[in-house]
Symmetry: C6
């Protein structure tokens, strides 16, 4: 029994960051920065628990969505090959990437012996196969080994995982919402890896007495009677699930007006950011937020609410300057641009 | 033959910390900090030796408790699958986690070959399987390798151990009382790991002559005639065992009044702790202590007696400041809050 | 569906560097220096996507070109052994060299057991076999291990990959366009490796608002409707493909006049470069550029346009002086020499 | 042929430390600190050579003593299972623990395959099995790897070696006299390991001319005619062997009067030692020394003679203060306490 | 098709160093120090390409020379065992020693299983077997691992490679011309290894415009039409080949007069060199140079021309003083000695 | 063909150190300290080449000497078991210990599988088996790994090599003359290892012109005609061989008078050496030197000639003080003592 997502006290940035990614996975994942004991993984798991089931091709090991009329199959499994195959509902889940993972376990392995002898490809699927259409969660992502980071970035960029050995190649879809957590005091991320997270948020424990008391009461209530507690939050949970489902449906129709694009580019140009990913992330995240809010187009509010998440980890820093140190500068630019 | 727990001279903090965990394993384990020669592992072993046997499903490799009427089985073994199966008494024991342990040995391994050929899952159980419903003791826990710490934390957080390889997954209950010992002079623990220990106590050898003499005499008597010595302490041992058993039974009925919750939160808010685990631990430990004392509700006394154990290892420290250095500050806050 | 090469905004140096290499692979590859998020790998992949198919011997595992009348076969495969064998069109593609690659995987392995028992050589081809007549792309090339660099340089220098074990030797063509990317902030390349890249370019994100807006709009349009977007750029793509094909055909006839050779040598002598590779690279790159521009001979313009690419990474630097720091000096020399 | 123990010139502390351990192995071993060329291992080997044979169960791989009437067997071998089995005399010997030893070699290994297939446990005994009832000698003990130290300490503390793998467990007695040598200039021991050695002595070469000459002459005589030399010392050797055997028999009857216990505790309390092992070691060593001296109870003399050995390695030191630096302080305390 | 040795512009020191070694392999190899892009390996390969074929015993895996009348066979292969066996011409070639080579691959391995079962020695030859009577080329020799250097030095010193395992021993001739290249900026060689190279030369790119232009023109001509270019240099190539062959024949008859020996020793004594290898190398190199110049005895000119090559890497240096720094001192000594 | 030992120019200390060890292997080996190119290994090999053959039991894999009447066999081979077995002459040879040697290769391995299945011990002999009654030469002994040093020291101390695995034990004689070379600039030896070399000498190249010229001429003569050169030194070689053989026979009868022992101890006491090995080594080396000089007893001259070799590497040094730095002090002590 999972602690209900809607019963989590505070942590609005974390919640918004996750919800925006769930509405548009193209936003590109979330980096959660914060100290110990702030229930990062609990939040993700409980959000996954709340989401409505997705439709998947029955028997497909990658849980592929049914293909639109006239399209080719998403993967090369026999189930997806059949255009009239059955579908099943599957829950989105949190696949956790352990720190010491091997390359083979991450991307999967091809059994060369088998391939050479029988002519059949036998592919032992890795974690990236499990991650397709799921959350991929990396706790303490800054402690991940470099070559694993590289493999992860490759798949994240392509939306596919391709394994090649001796002329035999296997490829499968690997679209996942990458969520990483890190304690900034325990080491930094390479700029290249930082940039791959669409959004980033800081989380911290509550320091006001009232909030702490509320957390404590809810936790005690849940520990004493998980099922009863969950029942008390059922309506809130259902309401959020419905709202997310609606937002997903509405998303393609939500537009971003020209002057909003102008303002977004004005912000990133003011900050002299190196690449262009921040621009695109801001557009997509603002649009997803607008969809969540039931609006027909993204506005200045959405950009303001999302800008910090998209920019905090991409600002140039002086040596030894911590991430987020430029918050004042950013606030000024947002104030100048979004009025 | 084990040196009797009740014959240990002094070391009240250590004894209380262990007993509170035994009454409510939800308190979350104990970190024992202290120097050499202070009989940390002896104390745990002798407490385990004293505890009454637990009821377990006969034949279950994880020693699961019989399931309550209407519940599903706790694990997937054939014995637990049978709702009318027999039960056996089993002693709680101390499973020791050696420093150089491998990941395979800790979490167990799935025999993939077997699974692919015969279709049967063959799981070679690891230390976490042995640890279920037992103490898991890690001596010099600050010397444990990081990836082992990570695996340990995952299981401790979930109460289950899940092993996945190539689409085959095995999961079993892994609820244990984690007890770690460390010599703070030999290195620190990551804050994230520190926070996972519900309570922490400091132990030190006695420095007064009278106490040392008493220890020496008891040890000499035990060495000369272990069985005879144990006989002399039989009544004290049985009394403590009964008292713990009673406390366990009473625990669900012990309450924590609103004003006690208020005070607990006032303490942690004053200390500006990062997370919220300390609040919950204090509530549970105070309640367990009340149960041990035969009280119907936890009071100011229990909070005062347990606060140091829950807070010492969670206070923010200045660089190079040792754990526990903020004891004065804590005393002041306790004095202000608990009067 | 690939983002069209011709729809990439800006990045003229990168585009020219790639095109010149595609017209004359003898130019010797391209090193792309720049920060995160500047779509280096996208550019290469989309150029490969645009290029017309090459003619290859059907069934040759190295995609050898058909051999000219009277020549021997390019490799020792059965298909190439047959002078009258069929041919097939194959697309040039981007073979990626992962950072953690093993020696065996790079150069391939000889199965000694098989060779000794059956007398047949069995060669398991490595990445260099796949790379023949393709791009070989190394992301973060400055993080590559030294022994892999050595193997790569050997093959690049010889145009062949030779594997020897216990008297058994296998050799195959390995002519590829080596493209490496690096972030100069994350470490340097050994001078010996730097020198092997024919050309080097710096890339950076656009900082003017107008350019950023254009990138953003094109990206959004592509994300919304990849096929429709591609259709809009079809004519531009085809035009570039035709122009490259024509340049390739014209290349052998394009000459480099004596006074151009004089000026090239004057430049490199002024810079006191250690080796002579820069001279040859400048001649070949200027000639390829002339061919792309439809000219019959390379002129002062071509040398000026290509000189920076050939010289930036080969200039002597003071300790701690960054690559490209001598740009002012180079400009002066070019001004003096090419007027 | 071994150089006779009684012919060793000087080194009284080393000799006493060894003899006391031989009389009561419960004293807990000996740490020998000293520089090169001081014949530490020779002394141990020659003492073992001199000792009378022990009685062991014939055929027991651990050389168990015959069990007292009514007791269970000491180990689970078939020979010990038979209460009426034959016995054989065995010599105590010196088992050497090499620095690079593996965990498997130290504790032994369980053959899991065999166990699963045939149901029989097959245990390949390790060095700890050989060490039972013998000396276990570790040269340069401060260079031993940490995880080996941990295993060694576990066995030393329990008097048994327990090996567990996948639910199969093997346990056998492992009571040995641990003797370690170290050159303090080559690194220190962890305090936890230091404390496990019951006694510690310093050895040094002789610096007076007369002593050196005596050593030289005896060595030359031995080298020239080992058998003849040994014959010359036969009576001294036999006398010492008899004296040790007598002391062993008398040991259980030797008492330690109350006032001696008082004084011992007064000493350790004055030194503010961390743990309580020193107290117990002093009692046992003083008693063993009394037995060796043919006395009915331990007295002030025995405590004085043994105190330095029990305390030198347990005193708190300032950073960079060498072991033994507090000798003056100790002398003063002994003078105050033992008069 | 190889670029002709005689068409290489400049690099006289490198050319002389190689030719002298080819005439008398007893000179002891060549260390080539220089920066990137100076065609070190090209020079060696093209010299090997030019040399006339050697006579070898047909079927001998080590390409042994036919044995002189009355001598025993050079190796233990069946072909060499037959005194009347046929001979074949073989080309000298360049065997390259890769940086990451294993010990087994370098010296070869004995198949112990086979030897024990069938009684036949099966030896899998290593790189040293291939190197016999060839060049052994080590690029970036200063990056070679120490244990490989040790094995290389052993073989170079003995002229044989001996492999022993468990009482089975295999030995074969391993006389090769060791050529190493290094970039002195990338680390130094151990003095012991430096000393093993008979001669050392520095190479650098040409800095005068005319030379660079010549190199560029020849390279362009070769790239455009390798076969035609080679034809243009055929006469020069043949002339050099003949001159080397003649010098080899004349070598045994060339003498080194007493006063030349006197002067050589005067030079090395002035420099206070540690060992005596420099003296012998100078004698042999001067003699080989005299043979190449068609002279009957070595003279002052030959010593002067060769002294720098033999002494540069053997002079004592101050800490941080670069190799060759003492060139002024050497010039003065040569001037004093050779007039 | 080996360069004759007697033709080596200079290097008297090295020669004396080797000869003394050959006459009495109990002297304990030789450490040769010196720089590159000083022919250390040549000297040892050529001395071994000169020595007369030893008598060994025919068929004994350890080349054991025939056992004296009434003694047991030296090893457990079948050949030695037969008291009337035949003998063969064997040459002493130089067994080289490579730096990267494994433990298994050094001490040999027991085939446990074989032992368990067939009951026969199968021992694969290691280098220590080959070393028995031979030289064991370690080039660059200061670069040897610590655990190999430990094994080497164990065997050297015991004169036997004992291998134990799982209760199966093999032991064989391993008496060898340990000769190590080291370049003191490349790292030091642990004091414990230093002390195990009986003697130590410094070698250096000759710096006087005349000596260098002599070396050069002899080397040239040897290179030109090895057999002829050797013939010219045959008489000198035979004379030395005879003198060594005679000295070996005379050794047991050579005495060391009391006053010489007194003086030796006076020297080592003055130097405050830690252990007593120096005393014994000086006695044995002086006696062996006396035997070589045809004297009936060792005198002051022999002690003076050998003292430096026995003491240089055993003197206490200040931090950063080089070995041999105390030479002046030693000279003074020798002058005071030996007059």
């Amino acid at each position: 029994m999972m602690f209900p997502f809607t019963a989590i006290v505070g942590q609005e940035a974390l919640k918004t960051g996750l919800i925006v990614n769930v509405i548009d996975p193209g936003v590109g994942g979330l980096l959660v920065m914060g100290e110990k004991g702030t229930a990062k993984s609990t939040a993700i798991r409980s959000l996954a628990d709340l989401l409505p089931a997705m439709t998947a091709v029955a028997g497909c090991p990658y849980r592929c969505a049914p293909r639109p009329q006239g399209d080719g199959p998403h993967c090369d499994c026999p189930a997806c090959a059949d255009p009239a195959g059955a579908t099943v509902p599957v829950r989105m889940r949190v696949v956790e990437l352990p720190l010491g993972i091997t390359e083979d376990r991450l991307i999967g392995t091809i059994d060369i012996e088998e391939a050479l002898q029988s002519g059949r490809k036998r592919f032992e699927r890795g974690l990236l196969a499990e991650a397709n259409r799921n959350f991929l969660y990396v706790d303490e992502v800054n402690l991940l080994e470099d070559h694993i980071v590289d493999l992860l970035l490759d798949s994240a960029a392509m939306g596919r995982n391709t394994v090649e050995r001796e002329g035999i190649s296997v490829s499968h879809p690997a679209r996942f919402i990458l969520v990483g957590s890190m304690n900034p005091e325990e080491g930094e991320l390479r700029p290249q890896f930082l940039d791959r997270f669409g959004l980033a948020v800081r989380v911290a424990g509550l320091s006001d007495k009232e909030g702490r008391l509320q957390i404590l009461r809810r936790r005690m209530a849940f520990d004493a009677d998980p099922a009863g507690f969950a029942k008390g939050w059922e309506r809130e949970q259902q309401a959020l699930a419905d709202r997310i489902a609606t937002a997903r449906d509405r998303l393609p129709g939500v537009t971003v007006p020209e002057d909003i694009l102008d303002r977004i580019v004005a912000i990133t140009a003011s900050l002299a950011l190196d690449g262009h990913r921040a621009d695109i992330v801001m557009v997509r995240a603002a649009r997803a937020l607008a969809a969540f809010r039931g609006m027909a187009e993204a506005g200045v509010e959405e950009v303001r609410d999302i800008a910090g998440f998209a920019l905090m980890h991409r600002q140039r820093r002086q040596p030894f300057e911590e991430m987020g140190a430029g918050a004042g500068r950013l606030d000024q630019i947002l104030a100048d641009t979004l009025t």
